[in-house]
């Protein structure tokens, strides 16, 4: 299968591609299924239990769903459905309504389709408390920063600059005002959301040569990794002298570029490391895993790999491959929980596979979490802060909640 189709674009084509993939992987998946069934009986454990599901209106594809990990005692998540971002709270599973709708932000532009939502927080001026904020990006190429606990949940800052759809975003793990976004315009941008300035653009002669699909930041915030349609995975350093100086200088201007001197974004053309050896197809999720990486393409597997110093320079050394099935369309995100003990990935027929990473050696044993009614591709899922709740978002506009037993 040379090229898979993002099912958003063409339903019929998607059908074709999925059917071909099924026909290709039918035998193997059957085998696996039987194996898995055996294992399931032996281990007798599926730690996740279905709690509830809800259908969003309009029930179009939900590309993004994310728990807010900054709130300690409540499990609040946001899901983006077209131009609408809804915020829900997961309450006790025995409650009449285990997932409760809190509020929503609707983009005025009806054509907007949000591809990603990420949470951060901001200090409210003059107080010691912090308010949650939400960054959302979509096909319009504009990042909307939304304050969630204001009286009216309006967009209060926009980040302008991307010329194509925004596919993925991440906040800096240490500085909550630094945001990195990856876009269809082949570039990544680093933003300071306090004054809506773009600090750096990561693209150019040695940058991505097609859409950037996924970004992630290392836990110390010194490097970041990006993957894209060009099969490339790139590691970028945020610690170069030039960048450090820029990051320091960016707070000297306000939102209208007023400062002692005008502030101009710098362009970073050269990644620290770049490889096409990990995947032979669209790389739709990349994740830091300590100093190593987990990445996923639409090749029915997740690869755990690291960089290795060789006489010829940095080389990729693959450490392990997690096998999954029925996940051959692209733009299917895998997700880790906050403690990095569970790895979840969706399939195109409504299943969520979970791997346990809390073992000495990686075990290629996937747990399937699903529900008979859940049959459409699971684009993204998210673990709660404790890792006990899993929510997943599907293409038919449904949001599913599973709880750990």
């Amino acid at each position: 299968m040379t090229n898979t189709v993002k099912s958003a674009e063409n339903e019929s084509e998607n059908d074709v591609s999925s059917s071909t993939s099924e026909s290709r992987s039918q035998s193997s998946s059957k085998q696996r299924r039987s194996k898995k069934a055996k294992r399931g009986r032996k281990g007798n454990q599926n730690p996740y239990k279905f709690v509830t599901y809800l259908t969003e209106t309009p029930n179009t594809q939900i590309f993004a769903i994310a728990f807010n990990h900054f709130i300690r005692d409540r499990d609040i998540f946001a899901s983006a459905n077209g131009n609408k971002i809804s915020i829900y709270e997961c309450v006790d599973a025995d409650d009449e309504r285990p997932v409760q709708f809190l509020r929503a932000y609707i983009e005025p532009d009806k054509d907007e389709v949000f591809n990603c939502v990420v949470w951060s927080y901001e200090r409210l001026n003059g107080s010691s408390t912090a308010g949650p904020i939400l960054a959302a990006g979509g096909v319009k190429g504009m990042v909307r920063i939304v304050q969630c606990n204001r009286d009216s949940m309006g967009g209060f800052k926009n980040l302008l600059g991307h010329t194509g759809a925004i596919n993925d975003m991440k906040f800096h793990p240490i500085h909550p005002h630094l945001l990195i976004s990856g876009s269809k315009d082949y570039s990544l941008r680093l933003w300071n959301i306090q004054n809506s300035t773009c600090i750096a653009i990561f693209s150019g002669i040695r940058g991505h040569r097609d859409e950037v699909l996924s970004v992630d930041m290392s836990a110390d915030g010194r490097t970041m990794i990006s993957g894209g349609i060009d099969h490339n995975i790139m590691v970028w350093s945020l610690e170069t002298d030039e960048l450090k100086e820029k990051i320091d200088a960016c707070s000297s201007v306000d939102g209208f570029g007023r400062g002692k001197r005008p502030f101009a974004a710098i362009r970073v053309h050269f990644p620290e490391f770049s490889t096409r050896d990990v995947h032979g197809n669209y790389v739709d999720t990349v994740k830091y895993f300590g100093s190593s990486f987990l990445s996923k393409s639409c090749e029915n597997n997740i690869i755990w790999w690291k960089r290795k110093e060789t006489p010829k320079g940095m080389q990729v050394s693959k450490l392990f491959t997690f096998d999954i099935i029925d996940s051959e369309i692209w733009f299917m995100r895998m997700e880790l929980d906050l403690q990095l003990t569970q790895l979840a990935v969706g399939s195109q027929n409504g299943k969520v596979f979970i791997f346990n990473l809390d073992t000495e050696k990686p075990i290629n044993k996937r747990i399937t979490v699903t529900h008979p009614k859940c049959t459409s591709p699971v684009r993204q899922m998210s673990f709660s802060r404790s890792g006990n709740i899993l929510v997943s978002a599907c293409d038919d506009g449904t949001v599913w909640r599973f709880d750990k037993k």
Partner: protein, 707 residues
């Protein structure tokens, strides 16, 4: 909308108002009215600006900045200290009598006797109260005229000692009572109609509380109108404190008015304010001061600040707030001097709404200058119309004075496009108004603009309005849109407009990739690569926009060569690229880019540079040898020339171009002189610090020579 309108055209049609026309009226004015109503509420909650600061709203400013001239920092402290001091402690109350009003009274003066009433009662038994009256004084007060002309007021003084508290457990209220006795009228009153209220001698009574039983002061400095009722109509007070009024205070006023009417006017009019206007009242001026009255019971008439903004939200002080609503015992207090409130233009006017050249609706005559859309009291007609024109641009206004009657015509502004005329950055970057004011973006800067303020005259509103504001100042145009940096697609901020982001200086990434790509060649040797890097970056640097010597054509190659030697000559020799450069020159000659003269000139220049420094000269050979030994360089190859000729050429050049004598000399010098001296001299001449490569080569050379 046709602008040619005569006053006749709507006069003829104003009576015809069928239902369809009414609908049309509503259709036309509904939308702007709704919008302005919304804006009004938004303005109240978070104002954009203060109306009183506008030049045409002079009437709304109550402050003057006179005190600023002699302001000192220490004044703040003293002001605060004055505030902190317990008010009215040891202060005498001076009561000045302005005049007494009773339209039925025909005398010129009345006698006013002022008494202070103390009512004290024990805390537990409120019924058992003791009451005693102290006489303060008597004054002769003018009747029914405003004593503007006089500069003295009859006055009495209640000394501070009278208000002394008897003890903590005793609660005392103090109230002033005024007994007004009209003197018998001396003029001919016999021809008066048989008005039953006209009598020759009348006594009135008025009361005004000073301290309530909790010791709170109820009077502030200012002007008071106190209703005085005739003795027989007076209702003794039950309520001594208006703060404790139940919420139906209005009901109380109405009750009171009714009662007064019953006793006094025997009329059905129950509007308390009308009643207040008609009731006899005494006008008092109260002042708390530490000084006493000097002179025989007269004080100089104080100047009253004309309080022109009755409904002013911004300036309403607490004094007005309480005084206008509170009544005590039949005394309505008002802090305003009503007679001075009305200004010159007191003329009543109407609003006339016009749709399609015909009058649709008219308002009743009104003499208040309150904007119907934002309930803003503009104080005078000029301010009102100016406000309407400037703040309600969706509508057009025209002031018409017709047969002594004023009228404001209102039409819909069909030219109004509702487009956003502020800075676009405010919208795009999401600087929406949050809670409280935020700094906005400035697109243009006015350093100083002091236009001649036009004199305010009504004639400016009488022309037909075309919906365009006349501008005195030329605004900078073209900045009400947003521009983007072409490379980064980030909006260009107003501050950055002066900087050229489109310039193409040779960027570092390009230099880096150029070097990288040259390094990746496999069919050229290291020396060639170095020269290619030097030359290509040189041409790149000057090929782009730089102020001087821009290389754009073949004819400039000679110039480029000269500049190259000037800028990179030393580096060239240091990297031992003499021969590579000569080959480069000859290949350029082969392509017909440079003339033989240029080659000769360049080589001569290089040789001069070599000669200039003997060490350099000596090092050339050493470096060359070391380089060759180390890298095992193949003979210099270019793609165009066959290998043979190239190698010959290089041999030749090595033999001919470098002066053998010099070489030998250099060699000798190197051999004979102590090695330590070499680098020092090198430093002096070249200004370069010898790098490790040279050191290495020198050492190698030494080895070779010793061997």
């Amino acid at each position: 909308m046709p602008r040619s309108r005569t006053s006749d055209s709507f006069k003829t049609r104003k009576d015809i108002t069928p239902i369809a026309d009414t609908d049309l009226f509503f259709q036309t004015f509904e939308k702007p009215t709704q919008i302005y109503r919304y804006l009004k509420t938004r303005f109240i909650s978070s104002p954009l600006f203060l109306h009183r600061t506008l030049s045409y709203m002079k009437g709304r400013t109550s402050r003057n900045n006179k005190s600023r001239a002699e302001f000192k920092v220490n004044d703040i402290l003293s002001t605060i200290q004055n505030k902190d001091q317990k008010p009215n402690e040891n202060e005498n109350l001076i009561i000045g009598f302005l005049s007494f009003y009773d339209s039925h009274l025909q005398t010129n003066y009345v006698k006013v006797e002022t008494k202070l009433e103390k009512i004290s009662y024990k805390r537990r038994k409120e019924s058992a109260m003791t009451q005693n009256q102290i006489r303060i004084g008597e004054s002769r007060v003018i009747v029914n005229t405003d004593n503007n002309g006089t500069d003295k007021l009859p006055a009495v003084c209640v000394s501070a000692t009278e208000f002394d508290r008897l003890g903590d457990n005793v609660q005392t209220t103090y109230q002033l009572t005024f007994d007004i006795e009209s003197q018998p009228f001396t003029g001919s009153t016999t021809d008066e109609p048989s008005n039953k209220y006209t009598c020759y001698s009348k006594t009135y009574h008025a009361e005004l509380p000073v301290f309530d039983k909790h010791g709170r002061n109820l009077l502030v400095n200012g002007l008071y109108h106190v209703t005085a009722l005739e003795r027989h109509a007076f209702r003794p007070s039950h309520m001594l404190c208006w703060e404790n009024f139940p919420s139906e205070a209005d009901q109380h006023i109405a009750d009171w008015a009714e009662e007064v009417n019953k006793y006094y006017f025997a009329e059905e009019d129950s509007n308390p304010f009308v009643t207040f206007d008609k009731t006899p009242k005494i006008q008092l001026y109260m002042e708390w001061t530490r000084s006493k009255i000097t002179g025989n019971n007269y004080i100089p008439r104080p100047k009253f600040i004309t309080d022109q903004h009755n409904n002013n939200k911004e300036n309403t002080s607490t004094v007005n707030g309480t005084a206008t609503t509170g009544t005590v015992n039949g005394s309505l207090l008002n802090g305003h001097d009503k007679s001075e409130l009305q200004l010159v233009e007191k003329k009543a006017f109407i609003f006339q709404f016009i749709v399609n050249n015909s009058t649709k609706q008219r308002t009743e005559e009104r003499s208040d200058f309150i904007c119907p859309w934002c309930s803003l009291n503009c104080i005078r007609i000029y301010s009102l119309i100016k406000h309407l024109k400037l703040c309600h641009a969706r509508l057009l206004f025209q002031y018409v004075e017709d047969a002594g009657k004023a009228r404001v015509d209102v039409y819909l502004n069909e030219l109004y496009d509702g487009s956003y005329s502020g800075a676009p950055h405010d919208i795009l970057l999401g600087s929406q108004r949050q809670n409280g004011p935020s700094r906005r973006n400035v697109v243009t800067n006015i350093m100083v603009f002091r236009p001649r303020r036009p004199t305010f005259k009504m004639s400016e509103f009488q022309e037909v309005d075309d919906g365009e504001l006349e501008q005195q100042r030329q605004y900078i145009s073209g900045h009400n849109r947003i521009y983007y940096h072409s490379e980064t697609c980030i909006p260009i901020m107003p501050k950055e407009l002066d900087y050229d982001s489109e310039g193409e200086p040779d960027p570092r990434w390009l230099q880096r990739t150029t070097k990288q790509m040259i390094d990746e060649f496999t069919d050229v040797n290291e020396g060639e690569k170095e020269l290619m890097k030097l030359w290509n970056l040189h041409v790149m640097k000057h090929g782009k926009s730089s102020n001087h010597s821009r290389f754009v054509g073949d004819c400039q190659i000679a110039l480029a060569c000269d500049l190259f030697l000037k800028e990179k000559g030393a580096e060239l020799l240091e990297k031992n690229l003499y021969r590579n450069y000569v080959v480069h020159l000859s290949s350029m000659f082969n392509y017909g880019l440079i003339s033989p003269q240029t080659i000769i000139g360049n080589i001569r220049r290089l040789n001069e540079m070599l000669k200039d420094d003997q060490d350099e000269n000596g090092k050339l050979k050493a470096n060359r040898k070391a380089h060759v030994a180390k890298a095992n360089i193949k003979p210099v190859v270019t793609k165009r020339e066959p290998e043979k000729s190239e190698s010959q050429d290089s041999k030749e050049s090595s033999n001919t171009k470098v002066n053998p004598k010099d070489e030998k000399k250099g060699g000798k010098v190197d051999k004979e002189k102590a090695t330590a001296k070499v680098p020092s001299k090198h430093n002096e001449v070249n200004g370069h610090t010898p790098n490790s490569k040279h050191k290495g080569s020198l050492a190698l050379k030494r080895k070779l020579s010793t061997a």
